[in-house]
Amino acid sequence: MSVAILREGDYLIAAILSDLTDKEVLELRGELTELVGRYRSRGLVIDVSALDVIDSFVARALRAIVLTVRLRGAQTVIVGIQPDVAIALVQFRLNLGPLRVALDLDAARTLLDQLTGGEAEDGR
């Protein structure tokens, strides 16, 4: 699968490296849900900066991942949405409200620290 999933402390980083088929998107969702539980991760970063296109299926899947993973105890931040992708996503008129977004990994970490009360840093 063209997704690199790294574990870093209490956070999980999933970098999508190339366009995914619908099947791979569903597999990713299952795997992330599984891993968040196994590693007891408190935060998840999904890096989509390699994606030039995000169709409505992937957008919905991202939203589903956010909601699923939250039920397993982790907050999600999406990182690296490209300008054209952002415009397209807005035009789908999906409810992207649950999506938390950051510009890059630094910003994502800061945001996650805020969301999880910064305990990840303190525990180190």
Binding site: I78, V79, I81, Q82, P83, D84, V85, A86, I87, L89, V90, Q91, L96, L99, V101, A102, L103, D104, D106, A107, R109, T110, D113, Q114, E121
Partner: protein, 311 residues
Amino acid sequence: MDREPDAPDPDEEPEQQTEEHPAQESHDADPLLQELVAHLRENRTELREEWARRISEADLLGVMSDEEIFSEATEVFDNYVDALETGSIENLQTYARELSERIIPRGVETHEVLGIVLLLRDILARELFAKYQRDSEHLNRILDAYEPAANRIAVTVGVSFVEERERVINEQQEAIRDLSTPVLQIRERLLILPIIGVLDSQRARQLTQQLLAAIRDNRAAVVVIDITGVATIDRTVANHLVQAVEASRLMGASTILTGLSPEVTQALVDLDVDLSMMQTVGDLQGGLEEAERLAGYRGAGATDATRRAET
């Protein structure tokens, strides 16, 4: 009035057998039109004066002086009669376009141009009535020849004027569209986007793209969109603004909207645009203060985190 049904029937008069229908392209051979043109040329001075007088009476071309009206009237009159004579409207078309170029910048309206051409048509028709009223047979035939030609001239002038006007409008639209919409960085990770002028769909889309590219390039955390310079707003534009804000959020930047005028705010509420996710501040100054607070807070957070991560 029975002359309408007579119109397409030149067979009544044997000597007219060779003539085409007056509306067709053979006016130069039409002796009726020749006669008519000769008569109009003879009375050129009185007719012009009559026309100029009627134009002033009807309060048309109010932006032009009487002398100007008279000299333009002379030109139009001559072109008009020429067009009647030759049946070719090309010269008139060119002249009408030049005239439009001259008078559009001075604020002459479409209804005025159509009004004066129709006035001239009516004045000439009256003149024909006066001349031929004793011989109604002849009058009918003259009018048969005159009316289609005159109407065609009126249409030509009107269309030329409107085309010229549209050309000017299109040019101006392009000029507005080409006005760059600058995205300015005023602090680290803080951008402002002042929007001035008319927003249409195309410009709004272009603006959104520029904004998003700037957010990525400057790693912006906060964007202040100032719409003090936007006079009116409609549903399409409002939706574009909402989309720009939402897209910026997906890029990881918060957006603050400032400078909503009373008219714009009322329009937004009346249009029922969903602005719940928009953060708005009254003026640009307030917006910048709020933005600095947001960016400063986040900026500090980011550096703290990086510092801690480095140690």
